[in-house]
Amino acid sequence: MRVWLGFCGLLLAANVCAAEGNARFDWLKTIAFAGHQTDYSGVFVYQYGNHVETSRITHVVETDSEYEKLESLDGPKREIIRHHGQVWCYKNHKMVQVDSHQGQVRFPLLLTDQLSALSENYRVSEAGIERVAGYDTQVVLFQPRDNLRYAQKIWVHTDSGLLLKSAVLNDKMKIVEQYAFTQLKMGPGVDRSWIASSATTAFLGKGKGKDRPARNKVAATVNSGWVVDALPSGFKKTMEVIRPMKGKHAPVTQLVFSDGLSAISVFIEPADGDEDDVEGLSSRGAVNLYHKVVDKHLFNVVGEVPPRTVMQVLNSVRYNGK
């Protein structure tokens, strides 16, 4: 409750700031802040193409950190729990910890230089007030200045700053994918009993124990020597790690680039001769994946960017030496 009130004060300050300048990008700071500091629980719909999926998300802030639970309501039971920068995934009747390498506290992620890069690559406009899940929202549209990234439209709850709906649009302004809350509850009434439940504490306790230092040993931020020559403008490297990955016998190098609104990951590993890996382009909603084997290395490029962008990035990856 204290956090909630404190957040409202900060939000008010953020809104005053936005009103003073033409900094419409402050909406991004607002939703990032609200998303981390608000207790909320609701049902949302995720849709792309002919695919529609309903899920429930619960996010609570405890004294130590945030807890977040994402459960699928359609199809086979799938669940993701995030806490302290760690990710657990329940799938096929078992809970497994996902190899995770992000810092424990990532807020605020949106850096000042990323915000300036945003204004160079997107035109931002406020597009009126609309109602989503029974709440009034401010609509904000980010239109890219080139065709190497998608447009994004967000619906921000005017009172709390929570993102209630978001849509990714292509260059013909057709929806590529969208998330929308259909029901949402905020504030102190949100259920938090699941945090203390035996199932949750069992794997959270395991994660807090000896596992974490061991994992930090095998994953390291490095200068791998790999570079991308043809990045779209505004994309800056935010991460470069060598990480173990499930089912891979050799560590995988991952480079992450972001323009502040979307990100592109480049994965590099030794090719294992699987014919499926030779070359291919596939997609899931706004995420496109292009993979290719070049000189006995398997490259996978993943990002919330159009197909041409992941292809352009992969085809310009080069080993520059350390």
Partner: protein, 167 residues
């Protein structure tokens, strides 16, 4: 005298027994036989028929005797024939190509099907395979969409297709 009788025979003015005698004489007398042929030719020309009977067999036989015999193989003719065949084959291939191209232009489903036949390049409408979920998960934790959508964007990493075997 003979000529009058030949002419009378041709005009059908002789009695049957007289005509029999005339035919026997014509067979035995080459000059009379030649006159018979010439009179018929004159008559044919006068009536302006579409073709004129003329015995050219002797003249053709004489020409053939003077013609030299060619024993060399007719290579030039064969080569030309082969070239004609090659050209017609090329035209057929082109026609198939044009038809294939036209069908690609006409039916939107044809393009992915053609692309599917190539093992290495896959069409863009292919769904990300479950085996690539780990890449999506690894990407997701560094994506700004985490701050935008919160954990909701993780739905991408565990989404399923009813027709697809979950992994």
């Amino acid at each position: 005298m003979m000529k009058h009788e030949i002419s009378a025979l041709m005009d059908g003015e002789l009695f049957e027994d007289e005509a029999e005698i005339m035919f026997d004489q014509l067979k035995q007398d080459p000059d009379a036989h030649r006159d018979w042929a010439v009179y018929h030719l004159i008559g044919d020309v006068l009536r302006q028929p579409e073709y004129v009977h003329r015995d050219i067999s002797a003249a053709v036989s004489e020409c053939l005797l003077n013609e030299p015999t060619v024993l060399a193989p007719r290579s030039h003719a064969i080569k030309q024939k082969a070239r004609v065949f090659a050209l017609s084959a090329a035209a057929s291939v082109l026609a198939v190509g044009v038809v294939a191209w036209m069908s690609l232009q006409i039916s939107p489903e044809a393009a992915p099907q053609m692309a599917m036949q190539q093992p290495d390049v896959r069409p863009v409408n292919l769904q990300i395979q479950p085996k690539s979920n780990d890449y999506l998960m690894a990407h997701q934790e560094f994506s700004p969409s985490n701050d935008m959508n919160g954990g909701a964007s993780y739905m991408r990493t565990v989404t399923y297709n009813p027709g697809e075997k979950s992994q």
